[in-house]
Subunit: 223 residues, 6 copies
C-alpha cells in the first residue's frame, strides 16, 4: 500500500479503438471467454460505451483519497479502475472528480463500489460502470496504491490493460494480447454478419451450425 | 432430459391479446394473485410489453444448446421461457439468436439467467425479461428439454401457458384458465376507471371502499 | 400499532425547496454524512426529484391498508414514507393510489418494499423510490400506524422530517435541523462551483486541496 | 385460495424410508438431477435428516394461520412444506406449533420463509429446513390453502410427494416415481461403495472412469 | 460525529435478567412485535445468549477506533452495539478487543458488520451477533461516536436500551418500556406452558384457539 | 482453457506450517491486509483448519471434470482451489472425490461454488470452504485448466501459493512472500500475547496504544 507507479505501458490507441468497436460480448468471446467483470457492474446510463487503457486504484473502504492521486496519472485515452480493499458501496466519485478527470482526457470510471451525482455525470456524458449508486461520502485518511494489479469485481486488471465497456458490462483485455484479440474479435464480427442475414431469412441455427446429428447422438428425442 | 415436445396446445391468440392489453398487475390480480415470476426478472429496456404463448426450455447452467432447438418449435405469437437447472447468470442469448427468433415470429424471451447484446436487442425491439445482463458465453455440450413444465423464477410454466410481461415484471396464466382470467381482468380494468375518476376528484379510498367502520372495529385510533 | 397521529409539525416549505435544489449528495454531506437510506432504494424512473415533508407509515408485510389511511393525512407538499414491519417486496402501491395521492398534493412515495403500475406512474410523473418493482397484490386486514417514527431502509424517519430524493437515492433531514442544513448545503454548492471551474481548467485536486504534503507524510511513494 | 384438500394419496412408507436412507445428493442424482430446492434452504441444526410425505401449505406473507389448519391434516410420517405467496422471512413456526405437529407424528418442516425458537426445536429434535431464522411474529387474518401444488424454493411440490432432507438440503420426489427412484438410488449407493474403495486405495478417477482418452480428444494439453 | 456520551442511564439489571430469561421471540411478541434486528444478524456460535444494556457505537466503514473508546465506557452488564455509517463487513473486532471487553464485564457484541477470531471468541465464551465473519482488518483514522442513537441492522437502538439476543437473533427493548415488557413476556411464557401441554397431548390449535368458526366465515373450504 | 501445468513450484512445507499455526486473521494482517477471499467462503464444519499449497482449477459452471484431472496433480500437502468461470453454486465435489483426494494427501478444498455430501465430509475430516452447500450434480463435458492463475472469491491465487484457512475464512499468501509473511505473522502473535495479558488485567487499549492524544487532536468530545 502507498505506492504510485508513474510510468506504465499503455496499449496502442488504435488497437483500443478496434476493441471498442467490437463491444464487450464479442471481445470476451474472442479472447476465450475470459476477462468479464461481475454482472453487477452496471453503467449509470444506457448507451454508455468506452474503450481505454486502465489506470488502476486500490483504495480502502470509504476512502477516496487515491482517486485524487490517480487523476494526476491519467493521460488522454485512459480509464480509471477502482477496487476497494474490502466490499464497499460508498460514493467515492461524483461530478467534481469527473470534471477533473475529463479535463485530463479520462474516458470513464470502472468502480467496484458506489458513485454519486449520476444525474450530472449523465449530462456530462462521463460514463461510469459501478456496483452501486450511493451518495454516501468518503474520507481522505488512508493510503492506497495507484497502478498496481487489482482484482476488480472478480477480474484481474493490470495497469495498461485495455478496458472495454458497454451496456453488456465490462471486459478487460491484457495489454500483451490486445492486438491479437482485436483481430479475432473483428473476424467474429465479420463472420456474424453473414450468419445474421441467413438467420434473418429464416434459416435455423440447427442447420447453419449443423447441430442435428450431434443432438441425435447425444440422445435428443422429438415426441 | 433430452426431450422435445413438438405438438403443444396454445392459447387462443385473441385471448392472449386481451390479457396483454390488461397488463401484468391486473392479470395477476384477476387470477387470484398468483402466477408472478420473482421481482428480479426485469425487462432489458423500459416500455417493453409482450403477451404470448410459452415455448419452455429447461437448460443446463452455462449451456444454450437447447435455445437453438427451441427456436425451431417457435410459431408466430410464441415467447421463449428458459429456466436453467441450477442458478446461473450466463448470457445464453444475444442478437443472433434474437434475429433467428424474430424471423419465426417470436415475441420475446423470459430467462431466469443472463442475456447479452442488450443494446442490439433494444434497437431491434426484441423484449427480454431476465435475471441478469451478462456477456458470459455459453457452451453447447449437454442436452436439456423443450416444451416440458419448468419452474422459472419461482413460477410453474407449462408449454402453451400465456405469458404477460411489461414494466411491472412477468405473469403466467394457465392456458385452461386464460379466457376466464381475461374476462375478469377486463372487468377489473373497467371498474378501476370509475374509481380512478373519483380518486382524481379528491374522494378518498377510505370512503369509496367504505373502510372507516372496519378500521374502527379493528381498533384504529386517531390522536 | 393502530395509531394515526393527525397533527404533525411540518418543515417550512421554503426550506424544503432549498434542500431540494441542492440534491441528495450535497444535503447528505452538509448534515455530516448522515441520513441516507440504503442504496437499494432506487427511483422508478430516471430524472425523478422530490423534496417534501414526510408522512410516515408503518405497515405489516403484504398489507397496504394503512396507505389508504395515510393519504387522508397528506397535505400539499407531503411525501409518503412506508416501512414494512418485516422485509417485504410486495407491490403496496399502484396507479389508483397514486391518483388519489396526487389529488391531495402528494409529492411522491418512499417505500422499503415494492411498487407496481410503474409505466403508469412514470407517465403520471409520480415519483417513487422503492426496493423493488413487483406486481404482487396486498391485503387489507391488519392495522399499522401513520405518523409514528419508522426506520425505513436503514434510516430513522420522523413524521415531518424533510425527505430529499433524486437519481442518487433518498436522504432524510430532521425537521429541527432543516434550515441549518439548507444553509450549509447552499454554501457547499457555492464553494463547489469555484472548484469545478478550476478542475475543468485542468488544475488538480492534489493542488487545490493541498494534499501533497499530507500524502508524503503518510508515506506515499512515487516510483 | 382458501381450500383444504383432505384426502391426499401418500407414498408407501417403506419407499419413503428407502429414499431417506440414500440421502439428498444420491436421490437427486437417481432421478435425473431434478427436484432440489434452492441452496438457501438450510437445516436449523447439523445432522438433521428427514424423509416423509408432503403436506403442502400456500400461505400469505406474514400470516401463519394455515399452519394450524394444516396440522390437523398431518398423519404420522408426514412433513409440512410451506411456500409463502410472496417472499417473506417472518418466523411462521416455533416451539408450540412444533409440539403440536410432533404430537401428530409430523417429521419436520420445510419452509421458504423463517422459523423461530430454534434452540427449543433443536432440543426437541424437530428438524426444520428454512430460508431464515427470524423471530418476527405473524398474524392470522388471511386464508391460504392446504394440500395444493406449491412451488417451494424453486421446486414444484405436490401433496403426497416424498421429501428427502439432510445436511445437503432438500429434494422432492414425485409420488408416482418414488419407488423407481428408490431403486435407482440404492443402485447408485451400491455402485459407489466399490468405487470408494478403489479411490481410497489411490486409484484415480481418470482411470476408473476411463476419462483420459476423451480428455485428449477434447484437446486437453499437459505441459 | 466525534462525541462520547459518558453518563447514560441503564436499565435495572433485574429487569434485564427477566427479559433475558424469556428470550428473543417472546420479548419481541410481548412488546407488540417490534424491535427485531434483521435476520442476517447471526450468533457466531450456537447456544449463545445475552441480555444486557446497550453501549452504542457509530463507526465509519473499515475503522474500529471507536471500539477502543467505547470499551472504556463499558460497565459490568453492558453489551456493545456497533452500527457502521455505511454498509461494511470488515472484521472490526477480534480476540484482543474481546479480552479487553470481558475484563470490563462486557456481555457481548452486536455488530452490523464483521467479526474475526471467532474460534477464540467461541472458546472464550464471548458471544457476538454479526452480519459477517470476516478477517479483514480495519484502520484507526476517523472519529465516530459512542452512546448516541444508532440504527443497527434496521432497528433503532438508544444507549441504555436493553438488548436480548439468542439463537433466534437480536431484539432491542426501549429502557423506559423494559419493566412492562418483562412483565408481559413472563405472562406469555406462563400462558404458553399450559398450551404446550395441551398441544403435546394432541389437542389442536384450531380448537384451543377457537379458529374454526372464523376460518369458515372467511370462506375456507374443505374438500 | 484446456491446459494442465504439471510442474509447479510449491512453498516450503515448514513455512506453510508456520503460517497455518498463525491463522487467517494474523496472516492477513502480517502481509499488509491483503489476500482474503470473500466473506461468503465458509467452512462446512466449525473448527476446520488447513494450511497448504494451492493446486488451482479453472472450471466451467456446472462441470466438475477438471477436478478429476486436478487430483492426479495433487501431492501430499496440497489443497485444491476451484474457481468457476462464471458464478455457480452447483455441488462440484462430494465424498467420492474427497476419498480420492485424501488418498493423495490433499488437505482440503477451497471452492467458489457448491459442495455436497457435507455430513460425510465432516465425518471424514476433509475440510472444505465453499460459497454454498448444494447437492446439484455436475457434468463432465467441457475442459477447464489446472494450475493456472485463477481469481477465486475475489482473490488472485497462483498455483503453489500458500492457502491458510480456518473458522475466519480463507487467505492466500504468494509463494515468494511466504517466508517473510510467516516471520511477520509470528512476530504479531508474540506481540499480541503481551497485550492480551495487559488487556485481560483491565488496562485499556486507549492507554496501551496511546490513543488519547490523537483522538483529542481529531476533535473527540466527551460529554
Amino acid at each position: 500500500m502507498g505506492v504510485v507507479v508513474q510510468n506504465i505501458e499503455r496499449a496502442d490507441p488504435a488497437v483500443v479503438a478496434r476493441l471498442g468497436a467490437c463491444g464487450v460480448a464479442t471481445v470476451h468471446e474472442a479472447q476465450g471467454r475470459k476477462g468479464l467483470l461481475a454482472s453487477y457492474m452496471r453503467p449509470i446510463y444506457r448507451g454508455a460505451r468506452s474503450a481505454a487503457s486502465a489506470v488502476t486504484i486500490s483504495a480502502p473502504p470509504g476512502d477516496n483519497w487515491m482517486l485524487h492521486v490517480a487523476i494526476e496519472q491519467v493521460r488522454d485515452g485512459d480509464i480509471l479502475v477502482l477496487a476497494p480493499t474490502s466490499p464497499c458501496e460508498d460514493g467515492y466519485f461524483g461530478d467534481l472528480l469527473a470534471t477533473s478527470a475529463m479535463a485530463r482526457g479520462c474516458r470513464g470510471l470502472i468502480i467496484d463500489a458506489g458513485v454519486r451525482d449520476v444525474a450530472d455525470l449523465t449530462q456530462m456524458g462521463f460514463p461510469v460502470w459501478s456496483k452501486a449508486i450511493f451518495a454516501q461520502g468518503t474520507v481522505k485518511e488512508t493510503l492506497g496504491s495507484v497502478n498496481v494489479p487489482v482484482v476488480c469485481a472478480g477480474a484481474l486488471v493490470n495497469p495498461g490493460d485495455v478496458i472495454v465497456a458497454d451496456d453488456d458490462g465490462v471486459c478487460v483485455v491484457a495489454r500483451a494480447e490486445a492486438e491479437e484479440v482485436a483481430t479475432k474479435a473483428e473476424a467474429r464480427v465479420a463472420a456474424e454478419e453473414e450468419k445474421r442475414q441467413r438467420l434473418a431469412a429464416g434459416e435455423l441455427g440447427l442447420d447453419i451450425y449443423k447441430m442435428r446429428e450431434r443432438l441425435a447422438e447425444k440422445g435428443l428425442k422429438y415426441i
